[in-house]
Symmetry: C3
Subunit: 141 residues, 3 copies
């Protein structure tokens, strides 16, 4: 069984945001899947997806602090600077974290660990809405 | 054909560990799969999975040295410090390396390159046992 | 429907290279797939794959500059140095960026964003040809 949905996330401020519920809410077929995989894909190159701690907002703030340090806005050697100081750094962060997640499905639910949640990683100051393609493949309950 | 297994890895010391054989040994249906994909997923946010050189233990030691340098334990700007000096650094390393691998299956075997092996990346000093969900999808031999 | 192909890319110089067309050209079944996923896998540990901006060559040059800075060739603490100054750095870059991409397929085409393209990330000075395994799974049009 295959299902595919487009999910447009509203614009969020730069940083790391929990979006697990938005994703599961956009795939009604999940509840009818015994065993399968859900692929979550972002169609952008300056925002990304990761899986991390779903409880403490401090963790998400620390992610923002760390990645801004590791890949500084307006780093002097960058040549691609036309689209703003945050643009080239955003591209690199997007590749460090990655454009997709593949998540196991078990008995109608994502088989995530207790503390795992999906983060939207918004690397731009004004990234705007972000479009995801959600692809579910599995066998029916 | 779908198959899904839980594999609990015993606690390992902090560092990078080859676990290819433990994974293939936990999926008996692999041997009967002509073409497919094996998804390996870790249900934790302070350990991760990667694919790298399967021969030299020095490579795995260098991974540990590099990542401890790139994401220092107890980095001063971190706010999430309640769970120990190694905790927040572990979360970031886990997202840099990622929580899953998808591996091609060909004629009953993983189609890895000669030098590729699966690493469990244990980012905590005392991480304990780690739980993996292994999901195989493919067509039978 | 499953299809699997091997694609051997000719040797390229160290750096980041757009290979989207080589990939889609190697999977004729893509055009007959309504909904599915294409898995692109590199069988090496010193080259990798990522998805990023497909227009400006400056972006790809900035990737090379950034990653050479973040993971320096011949970094003093490395122990695995027998295969050259670029080798151990290449292994780490390969794990930071990852060995595979999973891309959504929609109505016979990859459902990439307007600005997304597949990069081959060649981390070695003389990496030679690189072998990819392309695995398509989906339902037929």
């Amino acid at each position: 069984m295959w299902a595919q949905h487009t999910l447009t996330l509203p614009a969020r401020r730069r940083g790391f945001h929990l979006i697990t519920r938005e994703i599961t809410g956009a795939v009604p077929e999940l509840a009818r899947t015994r065993t399968g995989l859900l692929h979550v894909f972002i169609q952008h190159t300056s925002a990304s997806l990761t899986l991390n701690e779903n409880a403490s907002p401090d963790v998400r703030a620390d992610f923002e602090t760390y990645f801004n340090h590791a890949v500084p806005d307006g780093w002097a050697p960058f040549m691609h600077t036309l689209e703003g100081e945050d643009d080239m750094a955003a591209h690199i962060k997007a590749s460090l974290l990655g454009p997709s997640l593949t998540l196991p499905v078990q008995q109608g639910r994502l088989a995530l660990g207790t503390w795992q949640g999906v983060y939207l990683c918004e690397h731009r100051d004004h990234g705007g809405p972000r479009r995801l393609i959600l692809t579910l493949n599995g066998e029916a309950l």
